[in-house]
């Protein structure tokens, strides 16, 4: 079994190295993007091997799915030509190799230092406070209770990115596809129930098993992107709906802030959740965060401000 596991790991590592190499250095732009999308997929297998199922879910949804969608959409906007990196000049070669050696040795040194850190890290303390956190899954507890500050800032960063994207100009109207595609609305209609059902399931699972707001929001966002592609989301561009859209985009951050301020009032510490209310509060924050993340991913995809 261990020989088999080793073979599996070696195959994964070799595939990842090859894919990353191609994604970085392939002369053809589309090829690089395709390699990167496959890199994300294989990466989620690597997360499974490392027992990081939450991350595997998030990588499958965000890394391979949404990032790939964003890249493909950007690719269609850029001219097909260009994108060929200049060849190395002869004099540059030693410099390049020196840079590679420095980087790799620095990373190895970093890994070595980190290897020396006291094990098993914070697994023990987290397991101690887990009964008071309101959920049964350690990663969800860390994300939404113990280190909720990180998650709040993360959603804020995402909102800031949406503001940046929307401030660049009006939303770009897409080019017509090369031909009529009757299959697309059918695909959207068939898959859409699942795009709603699966996030709900992931949210529900998040309290006791891998899952939670981020994969749920990402899947919902991918469903939204599919609807945008099928031309089914007109309300986003409707000028009268803009206040509602903005409110929904900010809902995750606002609810999170409200919970944090309530903690400040009740327990005297920002973002401190009282034991009795922790479970329901985490669920409420997770639902709002998932909806906001989904809408923000859709908002990225418009490449500009709608309704302008």
């Amino acid at each position: 079994m261990s020989a088999l596991a080793l073979a599996f790991d070696l195959l994964l590592v070799a595939a990842l190295l090859w894919l990353a190499w191609q994604a970085l250095f392939d002369a053809h732009r589309f090829s690089a993007v395709a390699h990167f999308m496959v890199f994300g997929l294989v990466m989620s297998l690597a997360w499974v091997r490392l027992d990081a199922l939450d991350i595997a879910l998030a990588e499958a949804a965000i890394g391979a799915g949404v990032t790939g969608a964003l890249l493909l959409a950007a690719l269609g906007r850029l001219p097909a030509k260009a994108g060929h990196a200049p060849a190395w000049r002869r004099a540059q070669r030693p410099l390049v190799w020196a840079a590679v050696a420095t980087v790799v040795s620095a990373t190895l040194a970093l890994a070595w230092v980190a290897w020396q850190l006291p094990r098993p890290g914070l697994a023990g303390p987290v397991a101690e406070v887990l009964p008071h956190s309101g959920v049964d899954h350690a990663v969800t507890a860390v994300l939404l209770n113990l280190r909720a500050w990180d998650t709040l800032l993360e959603i804020t960063v995402m909102l800031a990115a949406v503001c940046l994207v929307w401030s660049l100009g009006p939303a770009l109207s897409p080019y017509a596809p090369a031909t009529a595609l009757p299959g697309l609305p059918a695909l959207t209609r068939l898959l859409h129930p699942l795009f709603v059902l699966v996030p709900a399931y992931l949210l529900w699972r998040g309290s006791h098993a891998p899952g939670g707001a981020f994969p749920a929001g990402a899947v919902l966002g991918a469903g939204g992107v599919l609807m945008v592609l099928a031309g089914a989301v007109h309300w986003v561009h409707d000028a009268r709906r803009q206040p509602l859209l903005r409110l929904l985009l900010a809902a995750g951050v606002l609810l999170f802030l409200a919970v944090g301020l309530a903690g400040l009032g009740l327990a005297g510490t920002f973002l401190a959740l009282p034991d009795a209310l922790a479970g329901p509060l985490i669920l409420a924050v997770e639902v709002a965060a998932a909806l906001s993340i989904a809408l923000m991913l859709m908002a990225f995809y418009l490449y500009g401000e709608p309704g302008r």
Binding site: L50, A52, E59, A85, R119, D150, A161
Partner: protein
Amino acid sequence: MSALYLLLAAALAGMALVGLFRAADLLRRVLALNVLASAIFLLLVALARTTEGIDPLPHAMVLTGIVVAVSTTAAVLALTVQAQERRRHREEEP
């Protein structure tokens, strides 16, 4: 086994940095940034996995990092695309 993935993370980080500095094309820089982020995540997660159990804190950090990475990617891609649109308008108008 963790050692194998640590080595992979080191190699990926080195490749991504070289790619990042070498790329003239903005799209390719975005790819390099994403590969670099993956390498760092891999390092964190491989270190979180010990014989005594799994440290949930790096996992939560990496989850946060993945979402921040996609936000960065979206912002940079939007800048790239809008710059290209402006360039095309300039070329068409005069």
